[in-house]
């Protein structure tokens, strides 16, 4: 592991998509949002899926996050197929093994920053002591030490996204999926957030999958997949990442 950069430990496959397609019905027409996409991420990966609006990147992220099911193909989590799992099993998998970061932060407005981070731990029925320790540690790690008692509306956009990142990591998941994490932030804050994700990837060796159309994001990845019209157009490895 590298505290300042990527996780270089390579492990087993974490998330895999095998020829997944997603077809939406738009009135009488059927729209293919994803067309037989293959994807693989292993432990410690930092992958960016890059593409313009309507390219199918959020659809792919939803399938990888197990909050949607493909029309065709299979999504495997830690090598196991998920298509036969019930909604309940998928929910348990999400709460235990997957962290999510949203474009619009999606914090619960009635909870404080610390309570937002604590929420997924309540679903895991952890002890109060364990919850408090993890929340304190994560808030400190994302640079929000001392702001835990603030409500989301008392935080800046960047701070809110940091809370969301802490919430995604607090359950110690195998993978964190982020949907346009910089889209609602100014460029400076966006860079800080991506730097934070890069550091957390190095620190925790958690797989990160980030979808974006922000050209400033791919340089932070190890690997970039370009998606367009529902198909992966190419894959490249990033040689020079920002310090």
């Amino acid at each position: 592991m590298n505290g300042q950069g990527f996780c270089y430990a390579r492990g087993d496959p974490v998330l895999q998509a095998q020829k997944v397609s997603k077809i939406y019905a738009l009135g009488k027409e059927k729209v293919k949002a994803l067309d037989e996409v293959d994807f693989l991420s292993t432990q410690g990966d930092f992958v960016v899926i890059n593409g313009p609006s309507g390219s199918g990147k959020t659809t792919l992220l939803n399938l990888l996050a197990l909050i949607d099911r493909p029309s065709q193909g299979e999504v495997l989590f830690e090598g196991k197929p998920t298509s036969k799992l019930s909604e309940r099993d998928l929910a348990f998998l999400r709460r235990q093994r997957i962290g999510l970061v949203f474009q619009t932060f999606n914090l619960i407005p009635v909870l404080t920053a610390a309570e937002n981070v604590e929420y997924p731990l309540l679903l895991l029925n952890l002890s109060r002591q364990e919850r408090e320790q993890r929340v304190r540690s994560l808030l400190e790690e994302v640079g929000l030490d001392g702001l835990g008692r603030r409500r989301p509306d008392e935080l800046s956009g960047g701070q809110r996204q940091r809370v969301a990142i802490a919430r995604a990591l607090v359950t110690q998941p195998r993978v964190v999926l982020a949907d346009e994490p910089t889209a609602n932030l100014d460029s400076t804050t966006g860079k800080q957030i991506m730097g934070l994700l890069q550091n957390l990837n190095g620190e925790h060796c958690v797989t990160f999958v980030v979808v974006t159309h922000d050209p400033a994001v791919p340089p932070y990845a190890q690997r970039v997949l370009d998606i367009r019209d529902g198909k992966i157009q190419g894959e490249r490895y990033v040689a020079d990442r920002p310090a």
Binding site: I67, D68, E87, L93, R94, N106, V110, L111, L123
Partner: protein, 402 residues
């Protein structure tokens, strides 16, 4: 979950306050009406027990009124056995015997049809002397004495000291007439009773009917609540003691009480139903709006791994929180209003009665429990539909909602 539910209630304060106001109003109104019904029923219970005692033991023919002649009378030996047997029950405070009869009461040239009741004067269970407002009550030493109701006294122009003739049919079927002195005038809650009921010493009634029997044994219990349990025990024990008699409780003996209690229950039932429907629809609207605004939030919770049933429970908790807070506020408001109402001591004379009673509100566990339960139930039921809809939302669709 409770934390999120309760904090969500504070989100849109105006809307929550509207819902709370409706729940509180409904709850306080229910408390006041139920408390009033309870007080009224307690007053009627009190007067009914004053009239009938707690329990009467008699032949079924007497209770049903389907006997020709006086075949239902209880002879002196059975009276003694029965009195000794019932005295063994710890709930029984005491017992007395009575003998009822139909009679003509004649004063000067005016005659009225009355129901006479021979009682043991000055007995501690039920002697009716407490009702006397003019003259005096019946005494153990009285032989030819009668207590008449004020309505009858006014109709016939009777005063204490006047003599009347009582005419009745004896057990053997002959006519018998006895003179009796009006020693006192009583008042009762019912004008009908005052018009038609007279009380005489048991000895006079037995002489008039030419019998040594009585038609019922009346029991006074230590507590009203013991009435029904004791009656069941008596009913089980009477055949074993060799009696073909039945025990009947005061509420069964008084059709008036039963009708009035049913009327009050119906009235209160309608009110509760109205409150329930009102609260249901208003809270349904409030919660539906409130839940719909949080569709995206539900998507987030579900995406984080919250189960649909946990989302359902969260929204139900919000409904329950609204019901609980509104209900508790409603109880406080209701108690405050009731205390003010009780302090005003408003008199009211119910139809068919001769004495005014003080209107008031009683506080019993039921008076607090039912309105609170209705508040909780109506808000939780209101939350069921929108909570179910939110729990079934597709995660992706919910997250797309703006």
């Amino acid at each position: 979950m409770w934390r999120i539910a309760l904090r969500n209630l504070r989100r849109n304060r105006r809307r929550t306050l509207l819902a709370l106001a409706i729940v509180s109003l409904g709850c306080s109104l229910s408390l006041v009406v139920l408390g009033f019904v309870e007080r009224s029923k307690a007053l009627i219970q009190q007067t009914t027990v004053q009239q009938y005692g707690n329990i009467q033991i008699a032949d079924r023919a007497l209770f049903e009124g389907d006997s020709e002649g006086l075949g239902y009378l209880i002879g002196p030996e059975d009276q003694e056995l029965l009195t000794r047997w019932v005295a063994q029950f710890p709930e029984v405070r005491g017992s007395t015997v009575q003998l009822g009869f139909s009679s003509l009461l004649t004063f000067r040239r005016r005659t009225a049809t009355v129901r006479g009741l021979g009682v043991v004067p000055e007995n501690p269970v039920l002697d009716y002397n407490g009702l006397v407002v003019g003259g005096r009550g019946l005494r153990s030493s009285d032989l030819g004495a009668v207590l008449v109701g004020q309505v009858l006294a006014e109709e016939l122009g009777l005063r204490p000291g006047d003599f009347v003739n009582l005419t009745a049919t004896t057990a053997a079927g002959a006519l018998n007439v006895l003179p009796a002195e009006v020693v006192g005038i009583y008042r009762f809650s019912s004008a009908e009773v005052e018009r038609s009921q007279v009380f005489v010493p048991l000895s006079l009634a037995q002489t008039l009917l030419n019998t040594r029997g009585v038609d019922r044994v009346v029991l006074g219990l230590r507590s009203l609540r013991q009435t029904w349990g004791t009656a069941r025990k008596l009913d089980r024990g009477l055949p074993a003691q060799g009696f073909t008699l039945e025990a009947r409780t005061w509420d069964v003996l008084s059709p008036f009480y039963r009708q009035l209690a049913s009327f009050f229950d119906l009235l209160f039932g309608f009110l509760i139903a109205a409150v329930f429907v009102l609260v249901f629809f208003i809270v349904l609207q409030v919660l539906t709006l409130s839940f719909l605004e949080r569709t995206r939030e539900v998507g987030t919770l579900r995406a984080l791994g919250t189960l649909g049933q946990e989302v359902f429970r969260l929204f139900l908790l919000e409904g329950a929180g609204l019901g609980l807070v509104g209900g508790l506020v409603g109880l406080l408001l209701g108690v405050a209003f009731s205390l003010a109402f009780n302090a005003a001591a408003i008199p009211w004379r119910p139809p068919g009665t001769v004495q005014a009673v003080t209107l008031g509100v009683d506080f019993t566990p039921l008076v607090f429990g039912v309105p609170l339960l209705v508040s909780l139930l109506s808000t939780v039921v209101s939350a069921l539909l929108p909570a179910g809809q939110m729990a079934r939302l597709s995660v992706v669709e919910a997250l797309r909602t703006v």
